[in-house]
């Protein structure tokens, strides 16, 4: 009733991103609450990955600002944004090719190590205890996501779906409060997609992590997201629940074109 709205976990305020004369994003605003699962959709070139890149500090927004947990992330390098609680996966899988599966997950602990250089070379008790803890936690995470059998395999030898899953595990191991997934279902077969859907729901329930999901596969997005934001040509077209978005004529027009009979029919009806 009179409850004030809880402050959002992540808030992008009127962000624009321009490369010379090309506007990748124009006046985009976005709010993600703690523990929320938000879908981000839009036709190719709509600016979804650009939005990811400004949220994770790969690019700086030309205009606007991004607040994470009430704090501005302006000027923070990507590794800093990760340590304050934002983790991501990549559209084109970026695993560490020379490391095995276990070591890929282990890299996520580096930023939070208590042992620095000197302890590592000295190999004292503190070092051995922490290595043991990290090993256990990594094993637990891999087991939880069904990758423990492959722990010592080279990461690039995994089946495609498992590589995507490993990327999610690696991102989760940094203990994020917000996880950005860039097209996790790309290249997956229907069975793998179903597994992915349950995986994402589990991430939310078990880890309490908020998720922003970019995905082309409407079945996946509509099936699990509670709120969907539609981008088109770098602008937010609309946002709302899956059913609201699905019936929005602007969305249909953006995906199918203005003159499409369905779009025209819908426009006439309204």
């Amino acid at each position: 009733m009179g409850n004030p709205e809880p402050p959002p976990l992540l808030e992008a305020k009127n962000c624009s991103l321009r490369f010379g004369g090309i506007a990748a994003l124009t006046d985009v605003s976005l709010r993600i609450n703690e523990g929320e699962l938000v879908g981000l959709i839009g036709p190719n070139g709509a600016g979804k990955t650009s939005l990811f890149n400004i949220l994770t500090g790969v690019y700086r927004p030309t205009e606007g600002e991004i607040l994470f947990d009430g704090r501005s992330t302006a000027g923070m390098p990507p590794h800093r944004i990760n340590t304050i609680g934002v983790a991501r996966t990549f559209q084109n899988i970026r695993l560490f090719a020379s490391l095995d599966v276990r070591m890929n997950v282990r890299t996520s602990f580096i930023a939070r190590l208590r042992n620095g250089l000197v302890h590592t070379v000295r190999r004292g008790r503190l070092f051995r205890r922490e290595e043991g803890e990290i090993h256990e936690e990594g094993t637990r995470l891999l087991a939880y996501f069904g990758l423990e059998q492959a722990a010592s395999h080279p990461s690039r030898s995994l089946p495609y779906g498992d590589q995507r899953r490993l990327e999610i595990v690696r991102a989760l191991a940094t203990k994020p409060r917000l996880l950005l997934l860039d097209e996790p279902a790309a290249g997956m077969n229907p069975t793998e997609k179903e597994a992915l859907k349950s995986l994402i729901s589990r991430i939310r329930t078990e880890f309490g992590t908020a998720v922003l999901l970019v995905e082309h596969d409407m079945k996946v997005v509509m099936g699990i997201c509670e709120r969907i934001v539609v981008l088109d040509q770098g602008r937010v077209l609309c946002s709302g629940t899956p059913s609201e978005v699905r019936s929005d004529p602007k969305v249909i027009a953006a995906y199918l074109g203005e003159s499409h009979p369905v779009a025209r029919h819908r426009e006439e009806a309204t």
Binding site: T56, V58, P77, P78, H79, N82, T83, A87, R88, F90, R94, L95, F96, A97, S98, L99, D100, M103, R106, T107, S108, F109, I110, A111, R112, L113, N115, G116, L117, T120, V121, R123, F127, E130, E131, I134, S152, H153, P154, R156, R170, A171, T174
Partner: protein, 327 residues
């Protein structure tokens, strides 16, 4: 994982034994062992930068030069001035411990130089970094050449022969231990993450610039130590001894040993030192044969094949589960 400290203790023991037997080793063999061990230090330390972290550096010889000149100035000018009545050439290990702070000072000077050049330039990638390090190496060489206080182009001679089998083998063992224990740890995986994919590494919270600078500084430190050992082994140093070709020779060792394989790199360093000695008799055909053998090495890659077998002999070093570089 067993403790690689056992391997370190073994290496130091070998150093002491070698030193106590040094009376029976003829001077030529001693010299070859000195050069081999110094090359091991150089190659293994460059491996951290090139092999593990994937940053191309062409100025390893410059760090070596800084260490060599620093130590030569310390033992030639500073120490006799500070402690004029001491004898510097005892034979027992204990009477030579004064050399340790000199080695460390040489390493620290090189490390500081590594920090100064690495800090800004490691934001560059690939070819650009190679150009900057090449330039830095030349700057150091030209500076030394034009500084009369260190003999200019004539170099410095009459340096104390303080380097012996104990120091070189001990330092080589310590270098190998440091590199292996550094890399075989959660912390050390950061170097590999930076090498494999910088964007992904940053997205996992890894401060990529810091890891690159760390690798560079540690590499420079050990190169400086190697330079100090070299100066006190040959008793004469000149700027020309630390030119671009010297850097390149170290790079060849790292590549032949297999990038990112400290043990393989150490073996390659020993083999190339021996090769240099064996080919001495060929006079003008030396470089032709040398180049041919390097090419054959590249094709057959014997060190890379030998490394897994040798690794089994070293206690505390875990077997690598997967061959590196296969994707």
């Amino acid at each position: 994982m067993k403790n690689p400290r056992i391997a370190l203790a073994g290496g130091l023991a070998v150093a002491v034994i070698l030193q106590s037997c040094s009376g029976w080793v003829d001077p030529y063999t001693t010299q070859v062992i000195l050069f081999a061990a110094i090359n091991v230090i150089l190659a293994v330390s460059l491996n951290l930068v090139m092999g593990e972290t994937g940053q191309f550096s062409l100025c390893h010889a410059a760090f070596m030069a800084l260490g060599a000149y620093t130590s030569a100035l310390l033992t030639g000018k500073a120490l006799p001035f500070l402690l004029p009545h001491c004898s510097w050439t005892g034979t027992s290990v204990a009477s030579q411990l004064w050399f340790l702070p000199v080695l460390i000072a040489a390493g620290v000077v090189a490390a500081i130089a590594g920090f100064i050049v690495g800090g800004p330039s490691l934001r560059l990638r690939g070819d650009y970094l190679a150009m900057v390090t090449l330039g830095f190496g030349e700057i150091i060489r030209v500076l030394l050449q034009n500084t009369d206080a260190v003999g200019g182009a004539r170099g410095m001679e009459g340096i104390l022969p303080a380097t012996n089998l104990f120091w070189v083998v001990g330092a080589a063992a310590l270098t190998l231990y440091t590199m292996i224990s550094l890399v075989r740890s959660t912390y050390g995986r950061g170097f590999h993450a930076v090498r494999d994919d910088e964007i992904a590494a940053a997205a996992m919270g890894i401060n990529t610039t810091r890891f690159k600078v760390t690798a560079f500084v540690i590499g420079a430190f050990f190169a400086g130590v190697a330079g100090a050992l070299y100066a006190h082994a040959v008793e004469f140093i000149s700027p020309e001894g630390f030119n671009f070709l010297r850097s390149f020779e170290i790079i060849v060792m790292v590549i032949l040993g297999g990038l990112g394989r400290p043990v393989g790199v150490a073996i390659a360093a020993v083999l190339i030192t021996l090769l240099n000695e064996w080919l001495r008799d060929l006079s003008q055909y030396r470089m032709v044969v040398y180049a041919l053998i390097i090419i054959l090495f590249m094709i057959l890659r014997p060190t890379e094949r030998l490394a897994p077998y040798l690794r089994r002999l070293i206690p505390g070093v875990k077997k690598r589960p997967t061959p590196h570089g296969k994707s």
